[in-house]
Symmetry: C2
Subunit: 345 residues, 2 copies
DNA sequence: GTGAAACTCTGGATCGTTCCAAGACATGGT
DNA sequence: ACCATGTCTTGGAACGATCCAGAGTTTCAC
């Protein structure tokens, strides 16, 4: 029988290895083996121990296990900054996919908060206190600060987003080929008969933005279409998206617009709304990210959908390898997005 | 000097309490006190220890601390099911606010995944392995299964959402008064001169839906307006929102519609789009949740915005009390939402 | 100068698990 | 019988922190 520890208490403390061992009539180590290396035990012993485990509802204490094995089975993920007034909801879906993928390999996700002004805030404490086994970094397009720093601290991590500014980075990463995304978006519009297809993207210093733009550019030229006066570069906000659309609609009168984000696409919609133009009939629009907004706005915005579920799975896979083999250096994985066609095109 | 532990290794193991103690020339316990009860130390000793801590970059090992104190400083949060094709993005903002609020009191959030088909999946394992100190439950409108079960397991938890089906529940909770939300939404439309204001809500068996509906109902009657033929109840999806709007626009020709969710509001928008009616000019629409969709769709949808940041803070406050005093029984906290007015009204 | 109270600091035990090295037990060949 | 050879099981030590009880030191009133 399990001996009650702190006497008097009504709420029973969770059973320990020792409790199970006593009930099953074996030693602690045998129970530990039953849990972690069942094939070391003789079949009948294993059955007996298993029975005791089930009976007591035993579950290894995570803190004790972590202390001994130096592994917490937690992956740190810094809460991305929330962007009000934009359509950027990709992180939501990514976090969801990641938590799900991680769960399948026995990992949980530790969400932490960091001061948005300091891209490194929060990492250090978790690293020093060995609270997590590894991190997932998501905002690589903001510069390589996080990854460089983590690397210098010999922390284990994988990143969703390629190491734009560090060609020599050795950590595993997964990214989505959004140049390709822009290409299929543009080709989709060409197929639909459009020839004057505008691009509304981000400022030139955004590598991410330039990459997407190149997809549009290549598709246009591959089909012998001119791009003159059809490209616009601005900030990722609705108001600047609207301004860019206003300007380009006045000047060049394109029949279709490809936008570097759903946020910019919404800017375009604002412009159309004001001009009383019908989305999908008078002007076609394609966005990026397949946000809830793209999914729900009538008549639906055609959008480039990044395969976040797959990205999460790939990251978890890389993470497993990394944690098993500290020296593991994976080649980056580039995934192809798909186009979700809706009424806007 | 700290003695290197596992010889040969290049990557230094994190410093321990003992390392700090040795460097500062005090005992382990004194270092522990310096960290946890600094006022127990003499000023000069504290300074010396602090210096050693800084020099080594010491941070208490979380696993060891958890093991001893039986507290992980982690709050469990089950990843809410992701709803594609809807405008329900409230959870995103809530999780964000919660992580931020929790961080301020030294808690981190452990995100875990549970099979959507089983509302209890995932809780048990974390509870048994003492991985978290408490849970935050969010889907209370789906029935009291989770809270009842947690209560029976003597788990500590708070809930975002009142215990609809358990009037005798003892756990702390925080909720948003959305009857009030519907009321101010309706009154806003009345102020704007509307008299025929329709309600598009959820099925009768949704207590949450009926509550919101009552706000509309009271506001209408308080102003002597009829509600006959103006209420519609359906599912929370775009297509059924559209169907409901179609029916009610044909039959009763309201000039304004209050919707129980932004998703339903988007359904209404689809209906308007098809009828070539202008949102905000021909027909006014108000939604619930202040989702990204409401924020970005031109010309913006007026929406009832739940104070999620405040809710998160209240929950964390309750959690602190609960963890300090296990018998703590707080009265529920009801928060008032505000109306964010946009072009749709 | 003495004693007691208050303040500081210390060493050993402990939380629940896994690592380690060795003991107990069967099995099989000589 | 005996010893090698595995297979299975065991008790003690360790992970790094905090709890606890007691030892050492200072402070201060008398």
């Amino acid at each position: 029988m399990a001996v009650p520890r702190s006497g008097g208490h009504i709420s029973a403390a969770p059973p320990t290895l020792a409790d199970v061992a006593e009930l099953a009539g074996v030693s602690r180590q045998t129970v530990s083996n039953a849990v972690n290396n069942p094939d070391l035990l003789r079949a009948d012993t294993l059955a007996r121990v298993q029975e005791a485990i089930d009976k007591l509802g035993y579950q290894p204490n995570r803190a004790a296990r972590s202390l001994r094995t130096r592994a917490s089975h937690l992956i740190g993920l810094r809460m991305p900054a929330l962007q009000e007034g934009t359509a950027n909801a990709m992180m939501d879906r990514f976090v969801h996919s990641f938590v799900e993928a991680a769960a399948e390999t026995g990992y949980h996700v530790l969400l932490f908060y960091g001061d948005p002004a300091d891209p490194l805030d929060g990492y250090d404490e978790l690293l020093r206190s060995t609270a997590v086994d590894a991190f997932v970094v998501t905002d690589t397009h903001l510069g390589g600060q996080q990854t460089t720093w983590l690397q210098s601290r010999r922390a284990r991590f994988v990143s969703f987003g390629r190491p734009w500014t560090q060609p020599d980075a050795k950590h595993p990463w997964v990214d989505v080929d959004l140049a390709y995304g822009a290409e299929i978006a543009t080709e989709h519009l060409i197929e639909r008969g459009h020839t004057k297809i505008a691009w509304i993207g981000w400022h030139k210093d955004s590598l991410l933005g330039e990459e997407r733009r190149s997809g549009w550019f290549h598709a246009m030229h591959a089909h012998g279409l001119s791009t003159t006066g059809l490209a616009s570069r601005t900030e990722d906000s609705i108001s600047s998206g609207k301004a860019a659309a206003d300007a380009i609609l006045d000047e060049t009168q394109p029949t279709a617009l490809v936008c570097a984000s759903d946020t910019l696409a919404m800017g375009v919609l604002h412009s159309l709304f004001e001009r009383r133009l019908r989305l999908g009939e008078d002007v076609a629009v394609v966005g990026f990210d397949d946000s809830q907004v793209a999914q729900t706005v009538p008549p639906g915005i055609t959008s480039v959908r990044p395969p976040l579920e797959e990205a999460a799975r790939e990251l978890v896979k890389a993470l497993e390898e990394l944690l098993a083999t500290p020296s593991y250096a994976a080649p980056g994985v580039m995934l192809k997005p798909a186009l979700t066609v809706r009424g806007s095109s």
